[in-house]
Amino acid sequence: MTIESKVGKLSDIKKIIKNGDKVAIGGSWLGSHPMAIIREIIRQKIKNLTAITVVGSIDIDLLIGAGCLSRLMFSFVSMEAFGLAPNFRRAIEKEGLPYDEITGLAVIIGLEAGGRNVPFLPYRGPFGSDLVKYRPEFYKEIKCPFTGEKLIAAAAIVPDVAIIHATRADHAGTVQIEGTSGTDVEMMRAARKRIVSVEEIVSTEEIMKYKEKTKIPKFQVDMVIEAPLGAHPCSCAPDYVFDPWHIMKYMQAASSPETFKQYLGEYVMKPEFEYLEAIGGMKQATILRRLAREVTFL
């Protein structure tokens, strides 16, 4: 008997992600989004996806701009200090992209419920928020059967696929996350299928050496893909920071559909290693890693 390997290539993602799937996308703010997989989805022209994010940024904006989404579930999408997300705004303000804006804790607790195989979980939810009124299929008032207290039930969220980017994994799919984990772990528990891109694939011995860094057991992973700098232009803490120079370029490009199309051609519609060259190659990678190391404590 042999040990099964779950290592795949970026081009293999279409074995798992299908047109029309509900895809939960890991990472948060400008951190640890699975950007190499996002770019591959665009290259493969996988369409009609419903994206699920808690705190999204360029991951969502790219997918929207490339026309991969037919629906979006989010609690927050923003380019942070760089401004609002241009394609996201345009698609909603001008093109009527259907979406479910769900409060942040309801998304997290909804994913938790999905992972626990219960149709809902109660909490002291966002009473008074209009979002509760607008999306009754995600919120219901419920009475505690012990105390009679009024709570909000958040509906379970069960993605077809979860995609995340992490620090490292072994061939069997045991995943370590050193930095910002967002809701990655909860997405992996809730989803039916899971793909993880990692900075590096290592031996199981290496995993065991720092087992406290392991966040996801192998039986919650279907495919592992090595993708160094795979979160770029987002950060993968504490290894590298987000790339502000590229994000400024992106903001410029995404300001109109025409320039965005050029951006896709120039950066996305080419093999991933060519992307890494296009954004500055080894030198840029070195700068982003160096910045992440040179921090000053007070």
Binding site: S75, S78, E101, R124, L131, A237, L291, V295
Partner: protein
């Protein structure tokens, strides 16, 4: 005697005013990367609140660090005592209302303690699609104090009624809060003009202090809802010389807290300038 700074920016004043809201031992939630708020918490932590706990990204109880535009996440991660997922965060802090403060900003805020980060205009046909509220709709109700900071105090921000209630304090008076299982605490907004606060559901926001040189009239004119205007309004306490020095030399040498105050185009230039300094700090410029 306290020696106040003679020279400070409105950003520094807001930053210090926010820092003064922090009490020693507080659990502080940093949320999105907003340089001004980050600088406030770090300033508090290295001065009067060493026992506070800072939470940002996945990092828990991290060492205070020098702010830069690119490195907040890396620094928080490297200096953390503990790392957790968002669910662990909820289970440890938010669902129980264990957080003391988290300064939020929003597109609109109204007289009821509602905030709007969703859309301007009609929800289904918006003029402006905002970023959304992330966890704010739930946690601003739960934090001990609901703090907000607004770099631009205008009637477009402070409206009678927000277009969409993304989130709301929900339970406001001290008695009601205790009854609902939350700790009492005010809604307090720190703006570029003043500090305004609301402590009872039935009472309007009140001007608590006016920034040096600002009149009550100015604040009233720039607020789209009714304010309680006390006869005597204290001046907002100025930053001390030590605080300003700490901000400029130690906490924020790149000047990231001014970022929010730069208008449109200038912002990008200012950012390029910061980034150039950051490159220089690692010998790449």
């Amino acid at each position: 005697m306290t020696q106040y700074a003679k020279d400070y920016t409105v950003g520094e004043l807001m930053c210090v005013t926010l820092a003064r809201e922090i009490e020693d031992g507080d659990v502080i939630v940093l949320g999105s990367f907003t340089p001004l708020a980050y600088a406030s918490y770090i300033l508090a932590k290295i001065t009067h609140a060493p026992n506070s706990t800072l939470l940002a990204y996945a990092a828990v109880d991290f060492r205070p660090f020098q702010l830069s535009f690119t490195r907040a996440e890396a620094a928080a991660t490297r200096g953390a005592s503990l790392m957790w997922t968002m669910l662990e965060d909820l289970n440890s802090v938010h669902l129980k209302g264990r957080g003391d403060v988290e300064a939020i900003s929003s597109i609109q805020a109204d007289q009821y303690g509602n905030i709007n980060l969703s859309v301007i205009g009609e929800y289904d046909k918006p003029m402006l699609r905002g970023p959304g509220g992330a966890g704010a709709p739930e946690v601003i109700k739960m934090h001990r104090k609901m703090l907000g900071y607004f770099p631009s105090h205008t009637p477009r921000t402070f409206v009678p009624k927000v277009d969409v209630i993304t989130g709301t304090r929900y339970v406001i008076g001290a008695k009601e809060r205790i009854k609902s299982g939350y700790r009492p605490g005010p809604i307090r907004y720190i703006t570029n003009l003043a500090v305004i606060a609301k402590e009872e559901k039935e009472k309007p926001f009140k001007i608590e202090s006016l920034h040096p040189g600002v009149t009550a009239q100015q604040v009233v004119e720039n607020t789209g809802f009714e304010l309680e205007v006390p006869k005597k309004i204290p001046e907002t306490e100025k930053p001390t010389a030590v605080q300003v020095k700490l901000l400029r030399k130690t906490v924020d040498p790149y000047g990231t807290i001014e970022f929010d105050f730069k208008p449109g185009k200038e912002r990008l230039l200012y950012l390029n300038d910061i980034l150039q300094k950051e490159l220089k700090s690692i010998g790449y410029a």
